[in-house]
């Protein structure tokens, strides 16, 4: 074997130190760009950079090759500073074909590095991408630092002699591109070499080919005269501790497993596959040794109903979906609410309406989860703000669900679900326990009151198998305390009030809203969910510019934090940036009679920092 197990890092060329860099790998959806991006993320994390990633891929698994619709991209921002977003624009774009160039070029900084697979720019692929002339041969790319690399030829050459077919050889191109990027940004290739061994170990010729392609890419950067210098991004000063690169959906799955463990429960996850939530199911189904039971139900409605059944039986019951699935679950969510059983409903939001933009991000399900059920049907809502935060939010959702005997809706979105960031690995033993209790047996004759309530207005969670606690629950309105069916007008009013008050009481049980920045001033930026990173970065920039602006990022959306109204009053203006047409803003206006200003975008993409900075400046005036 000619390969080494250690990655190459030493270069003899000139090194330029950068604070950070944003790189996007783009190619056909079959070109392995998601894998390449994931590897670049992992190795950047290993270097000690702070990282944020943004995978962007089409809904079609394999759209016709070479077309604009089939372009898949993965953006990685790595930095020696603390960062919160995957970057507004690109310092470097790798385009594996003309379609990838066409759809991504607008995001590349002028003067940015543009690395293209020259071999893919043939007449046919140029036509598919809608290029009349080859952009590599006219002057249209003059404003960029263009590197024309014959990747197909070089990769085929690198794997020659391994007996691979041309098709198999071409599949290694993404590793060639990775090797070149690793050289360019001084990344260590050993994590990727380990990955190759793990993933392709069973197919030694494929593993060897990928290793050779990776090394060939690195060597190409080192030897070709086109690249005169390369870069270095120093480790970031993150808080001390052990880290791993964490994606939102994985963090959510692990948070659920942890919540089950610290509450002494087995986890039940009933779900139906839907983008972008399915990876939660995939992850959970791997961890059955934690007592995790996953059920892939026949449809979204069934998934929600399995959760109600499992909750009644005494499990930690969770379902996950996205907007269209949540629409189908609505009736059953109402049942979960009136049964007053603890459970978690995850909505990993995507672009809507209807099927919408399945692989793109949006925050447009807030009003759906708040109001999308018949009748007066309050359910608490909390939202994750970043990939790593999904872990904490999952645990918090279960804490609220069990303390208040209620379903809890957990909002994530496609951006944080598939994005990743460094995650400070917690000590499992330091995660606070969640106390869950079930009433014990009663002797015959003693009446059990399933709808008696404690000081928080939560009812007892009596589970089947407990002697003397046999009781019936259902979707019909129930009599106070006994839970028997009741059509009494006063009782219905009372039960409606109590259910609302119980959810409102959660505000007493969660932290007060915090504000970063001045306690009063010209502007408060009020945000929620996955826009945390962009808003945080934008507000910090504006504060550095000397603007009087503060930032409040909501985790608790129902009920809203107790002190929110008072916070809003301390600023002359309130700006609510959202990836929807103004849903939180509508709530803020209704609830606090505050003339909140919206900044709204529904393009399937996250906010850029520049957009937010511009809006903040404009709003302050």
């Amino acid at each position: 074997m000619s390969t080494t197990t250690e990655g190459q890092t030493a270069s003899t060329k000139q090194t330029i130190v950068l604070e950070g860099a944003t790189v996007r790998l783009a190619g056909d959806s079959g070109d392995g760009m998601q894998l390449a991006g994931t590897q670049l993320t992992g190795t950047s994390a290993q270097v000690g950079n702070d990282i944020a990633t943004f995978p962007d891929f089409p809904a079609e698994i394999r759209a016709p090759r070479g077309t604009l619709a089939g372009v898949s991209g993965f953006q990685v921002h790595f930095s020696s500073q603390e960062i919160f977003t995957p970057g507004d624009s690109l310092n470097c774009l790798i385009a594996m074909n003309p379609a990838a160039l066409k759809t991504n070029l607008a995001d590349l900084d002028s003067g940015g590095a543009l690395i293209v697979n020259q071999d893919a720019f043939d007449k046919k692929d140029l036509e598919k991408a809608g290029y009349a002339t080859n952009p590599l041969e006219d002057d249209s790319l003059e404003g960029y630092n263009l590197f024309k690399v014959p990747m197909t030829k070089l990769t085929r050459g690198a794997v020659e002699g391994l007996g691979l077919s041309v098709k198999e050889a071409d599949r290694c191109r993404n590793f060639f591109a990775m090797g070149l990027i690793y050289w360019l940004y001084g990344r260590d290739s050993s994590p990727t070499l380990r990955f190759i061994e793990e993933k392709f170990g069973g197919k030694p010729d494929v593993a060897e080919a990928n290793r050779k392609a990776l090394n060939a890419g690195w060597n190409y950067g080192e030897t070709t005269e086109a690249f005169v210098s390369h870069y270095e991004v120093a480790p970031a000063k993150l808080p001390a501790g052990k880290y791993k690169n964490m994606m939102g959906n994985t963090a959510l799955a692990w948070g659920l497993i942890a919540a089950a463990k610290v509450s002494g429960k087995d986890l039940f996850y009933g779900t139906y596959p839907i983008t972008p939530a399915s990876d939660i199911l995939h992850e959970l189904s791997r961890h059955k040794n934690f007592g995790v039971r996953t059920v892939q139900a026949e449809d979204e409605i069934a998934a929600m109903c399995t959760v109600i059944g499992a909750a009644f039986a005494g499990s930690m019951a969770v379902t996950g979906s996205s907007g269209p699935g949540i629409a189908l679950k609505g009736e059953a969510m109402g049942l979960g609410m009136i049964l007053e059983l603890p459970m978690i409903i995850i909505n990993v939001q995507r672009g809507g309406p209807s099927t919408g933009l399945p692989t793109k991000t949006e925050q447009s399900d807030l009003l759906q989860v708040l109001f999308g059920r018949n009748g007066e049907s309050p359910i608490p809502i909390i939202a994750a703000r970043s990939p790593g935060d999904c872990f904490d939010v999952a645990i918090e959702a279960w804490r609220i669900a069990t303390r208040f005997m209620t379903p809890v809706i957990l909002l994530s979105d496609g951006y944080i679900a598939n994005g990743s960031e460094p995650w400070l690995i917690p000590d499992a033993d330091a995660i606070p326990r969640i106390e869950v209790s079930h009433p014990g047996p009663l002797n015959d004759g003693e009446a059990f009151l399933p709808y008696a309530r404690n000081e928080r207005l939560a009812r007892p969670w009596a589970i089947p198998g407990t002697e003397g606690l046999m009781h019936r629950v259902g979707g019909l309105e129930k009599q106070d305390k006994t839970g028997n069916v009741s059509y009494d007008p006063e009782n219905h009013q009372h039960m409606t009030d109590v259910r609302a008050q119980k959810v409102a009481n959660i505000a007493d049980d969660v932290p007060l809203q915090e504000v970063t920045g001045p306690a009063s001033g010209d502007l408060l930026v009020l945000s929620w969910g996955g826009t945390y990173g962009a808003n945080t970065t934008a507000v910090k920039k504006c504060q550095k510019m000397g603007l009087s602006v503060a930032h409040a990022h909501l985790r608790y959306l129902n009920p809203l934090p107790k002190n929110l109204g008072e916070i809003l009053d301390r600023y002359k203006k309130v700006l609510v940036p959202e990836l929807n047409m103004g849903q939180l803003r509508m709530l803020i206006r209704a609830r606090y009679l505050k003339d909140a200003i919206g900044y709204n975008k529904v393009q399937g993409k996250p906010f850029t920092v520049a957009e937010l900075v511009g809006k903040i400046q404009e709003t302050i005036g």
Partner: protein, 339 residues
């Protein structure tokens, strides 16, 4: 503490709620036979759960002194799937009707049966929507005039047992609300079966569809119009037990015994046949086509049960990898340390 189970009586299964079905409804009998049968199973009340959807039959759980959920329309099989998956120790009954189970909940019924979840499903078939006051149901016959079909129903009816068999049901049976001994015995067979037991009960709605099953109940005609299935026995029926069912190729036919036809020429019932073809053929024998309609157990076979298999996987994962350790999970894969 005594470990001996108390001997329960039918009355012990009665809840404190007033039964509110219309007087004369067939549901009363099904409730009574259930209460009568359950003590024989020796399962404590707290280990039994009744789950229903929406409709007249779905009020059933309220009247049983067990655990119960009156859920939403058509979804009881899905609730049962979640419940039984995490608590295979419980005895779970799903109570449904022709509208609840075959119309709005058809998908869930199909899937719970194919999973062979270890539960018992009782479908009260009255061939009408009762709770919504008299629209045609998925089992109403063609031409049925109801409030919603003043010129007659034009949907072909579904046949519950044919559907269950098509979904690979491991236990399929039929009984009649007024055949109380037969009904009780059938419920008991269902309860004893391990896997999804699917029981269709011909149930009379005396308000909106009175007499729909009269041909199976009337003293004069019931012996001619029904045939009681017994495992290993020939299919014989009639007041004088002088008629039988013979196979002619792949078709059943009614024959008279004597006149050259002996019992040995008849179709013998085999509820344990691995192939469901014969059970399906029996489910297709209909009154309007001149056949007696079979009652009893059509099919009872042993196949893997979803809840058991799911929990086996959990046990296997624990045996292989040990009980999950959060710290080990968190520290798995590529990590790095910042000092």
């Amino acid at each position: 503490m005594s470990t001996q189970l108390p001997v329960l009586k039918a009355k012990d299964f009665e809840s404190d709620q007033d039964v509110r079905w219309c007087p004369g409804c067939g549901d009363y009998s099904i409730l009574a036979q259930m209460k009568k049968m359950l003590p024989s199973m020796g399962v404590p009340r707290e280990k039994i759960v009744f789950i229903s959807g929406i409709g007249c039959s779905s009020r059933f759980p309220y009247y049983m002194n067990t655990y119960g959920i009156h859920s939403i329309h058509g979804r009881a099989p899905a609730l049962a799937t979640g419940l039984k998956s995490v608590r295979p120790d419980l005895m779970v009954w799903v109570i449904t009707g022709d509208g609840d189970g075959l119309s709005i909940g058809g998908n869930h019924l199909m899937h719970v049966i194919r999973r062979n979840l270890d539960i018992n499903i009782i479908l009260f078939n009255n061939r009408i929507y009762g709770l919504t006051k008299g629209q045609y149901s998925p089992t109403s016959p063609l031409g049925k005039v109801t409030k919603s079909t003043p010129m007659g129903a034009i949907d072909n009816p579904l046949h519950p047992l044919s559907i269950a068999i098509g979904c690979e049901a491991s236990f399929v049976a039929r009984s009649i609300d007024t055949h109380i001994k037969h009904l009780e015995a059938t419920l008991q067979r269902a309860a004893e079966h391990r896997g999804t037991s699917f029981v269709e009960v011909y149930q009379n709605c005396n308000i909106f569809n009175d007499g729909a099953w009269e041909y199976t109940k009337d003293k004069q005609t019931k012996a001619e119009n029904t045939i009681e299935l017994e495992h290993g026995k020939p299919l014989i029926f009639g007041a004088k037990r002088d008629k039988g069912i013979r196979l002619n190729g792949l078709e059943p036919e009614v024959v008279e015994l004597g006149k050259g036809v002996t019992e040995d020429d008849l179709l013998f019932h085999d509820e344990k046949a691995a192939e469901p073809s014969l059970a399906y053929l029996l489910s297709r024998m209909r009154h309007e086509d001149g056949f007696p309609e079979p009652i009893g157990v059509f099919r009872a076979i042993e196949t893997p049960r979803y809840d058991e298999e799911l929990n086996k996987q959990v046990a296997a994962a624990r045996a292989k990898r040990g009980e999950g350790d959060l710290n080990a999970l968190f520290n798995s894969g590529e990590t790095w340390t910042v000092s």
